[in-house]
């Protein structure tokens, strides 16, 4: 079986073909770059996606050596994400599905991050730490759905870095640059550390970091301290969830999973609780077609397809609303 997956929730337009066994035959993407000092402009990103869609998808099929007719389903991320961007992927997916008369499989983008993480790390029943521009959430599977144990009460970890990046005139996503700047300092400046139960709150940290910078503290010191505080906060929130759920694996996935400071802090904490830390490999941290194709394959096998009329985009689709019939682990 082959499933084509199309991703267009934010800055990335991606397409991928996977097999039933979870072999990723191709994973092609083209990323819209925002202007320095600005975030993603939804319309401009959507324009970018429209321009590259045909090329990305045909490359994905060619690389996989699979023709449109050989596909068993077309999966598309219908949300959550930016409306104009989502509509590009959805429109293209509907066209391909109806042209080749293949079932259309709606995929929740966040579930995609979890499933690609599970596939590539072999995690079976993990506590999931999903960190990206759109999410900062701690999740465990229970009763047929992913349950949120903790999350950000305001902005995400990705937002924190990207919004700070605007202040220093960097393009987003800016995580890697901030991580690099942080390595140039070991001088800790106190910043607000806010953990509420299993939740974190980053908006105060953003305001305070910007204020420190304006008051003359060096950029490297602020980046270092902001990264230390934000990653420590999340690690503490995860530790609380881990102590509560007693899971034996912790899966770090999503775009910000690429941050090495976060990886290190989580791993240090997780081993103390006799659990195994797992991190989604680098090519699959950021948004990609493979996460949609593989989740689509799982859904397809479970019979979760949709009529074209029911594939409206869902920009605010929460992941705990998604039924997951293909997972059986955990009570």
């Amino acid at each position: 079986m082959y499933c084509l997956g199309i991703e267009s929730t934010a800055h990335t337009f991606g397409a991928s073909v996977v097999t039933e066994e979870g072999k990723i035959l191709s994973d092609v993407r083209d990323v819209y770059a925002s202007k320095p000092g600005t975030g993603i402009h939804p319309r401009e990103a959507a324009d970018h996606h429209s321009e590259v869609a045909a090329k990305v998808i045909s490359n994905a099929l060619v690389e996989a050596e699979v023709s449109g007719g050989q596909l068993d389903g077309v999966a598309v991320a219908l949300g959550p994400g930016l409306g104009p961007c989502l509509r590009v992927g959805a429109t293209v997916a509907r066209a391909i599905a109806s042209c080749f008369r293949k079932p259309l499989v709606p995929v929740n983008h966040a579930i995609g991050h979890i499933e690609i993480g599970s596939l590539t790390t072999g995690a079976l029943d993990p506590l999931v730490v999903l960190v990206s521009g759109g999410h900062t959430a701690i999740l465990a599977f229970s009763g047929g759905k992913w349950r949120v144990f903790g999350e950000t009460e305001d902005i995400t970890l990705g937002n924190l870095y990207d919004m700070f990046a605007r202040e220093i005139n960097l393009p987003s996503p800016a995580g890697p640059q901030i991580e690099m700047l942080a390595t140039k300092s070991a001088n800790f400046v106190p910043l607000p550390y806010v953990v509420k139960g299993n939740d974190v709150s980053y908006s105060g940290l953003l305001t305070a970091s910007v204020a420190k910078l304006r008051s003359g503290v060096s950029l490297a010191d602020v980046c270092y301290s902001m990264q230390e505080v934000s990653c420590s906060m999340l690690t503490e929130a995860v530790e609380r969830s881990l102590a509560y759920t007693r899971k034996k694996e912790v899966l770090l996935t999503g775009g910000v999973a690429a941050n090495r400071v976060l990886q290190t802090k989580l791993a240090e904490m997780v081993v103390v609780h006799e659990a195994v830390p797992r991190v989604v490999p680098q090519p699959y941290t950021g948004d990609c077609g493979a996460q949609i194709a593989w989740t689509g394959m799982l859904a397809l096998r479970a019979g979760e397809t949709a009529e074209i009329a029911d594939t409206r985009v869902r920009p605010r689709w929460r992941l705990e609303d998604v039924k997951i019939p293909w997972r059986t682990a955990a009570a």
Binding site: R147, V148, F188, G197, E228, E236
Partner: protein
């Protein structure tokens, strides 16, 4: 390990929580519990010691206040801020989380109604717990004790009270999916007994508002 506490007799690690280690030990001939906030390797040292010290002082202060307004919490017997450690009265478990799995439905409801009354009384008394889960409630033959006030606060804000209910609801849902509605409903019944229906409705609205504020909530 502590400068003030002396060498405790047979201290036994009974629980390793997220931020603290709980030891069972002797305290002048009585069974007591020691809570040590342990250093975290994932926080820079300066940040780590500030957090542990302030949380220990804050927690013991809150427990003391809670006791004054009649909320069942373990009595604090000794406090050592330098080591981020304190000793308190031993309360026999199990946690409510564990107990809810094994007791019949009627008792389950009775426990949760009682918890609702205790939490409401605490809120009326100007305290919020900040980490209200069923793991942080001990049931000694039906007498409920609240523990772990590390994230608590002095607050009369509807927002903070709402967070307590939201966290509790989420904890119940995540581990007791099958009878989650039943136990949270019983909790609300008890809560309403103390604060009245009008205040209960207000706080539930607040809980929904906080939930909606979360990311990607689809507005109906």
């Amino acid at each position: 390990m502590s400068r003030y506490l002396g060498e405790p007799l047979l201290p036994k690690l009974i629980y390793r929580g997220a931020e603290a280690e709980i030891y069972l030990q002797d305290w002048y001939g009585e069974l007591a519990v020691r809570k040590d906030r342990i250093p975290k390797p994932y926080r820079v040292a300066e940040l780590d010691s500030t957090i542990r010290r302030s949380r220990t002082l804050h927690e013991t202060n809150l427990m003391h206040e809670a006791r004054k307004i009649g909320i069942p919490v373990p009595v604090i017997q000794h406090l050592d801020p330098e080591d981020s450690s304190f000793i308190m009265e031993y309360v026999k478990g199990p946690t409510l989380k564990e107990e809810l799995y094994v007791i019949p439905s009627q008792v389950r409801r009775r426990r949760c109604t009682e918890l609702g009354r205790v939490v409401a009384k605490m809120h009326e008394g100007g305290l919020v717990h900040g980490d209200l889960t069923i793991s942080n409630v001990l049931s000694d033959n039906g007498k409920l004790f609240l523990i772990d006030f590390g994230l608590g606060d002095f607050s009369n804000q509807l927002e903070d009270r709402g967070v307590d209910l939201l966290l509790l609801n989420r904890a119940m849902k995540s581990t007791h999916v099958k009878f989650h509605e039943e136990i949270f409903g019983a909790f609300l019944k008890g809560y309403s007994m103390v604060v009245g229906r009008k205040r209960k409705a207000e706080i539930l609205n607040k809980v929904h508002e906080i939930e909606r504020r979360g990311r990607y909530s689809e507005r109906a």
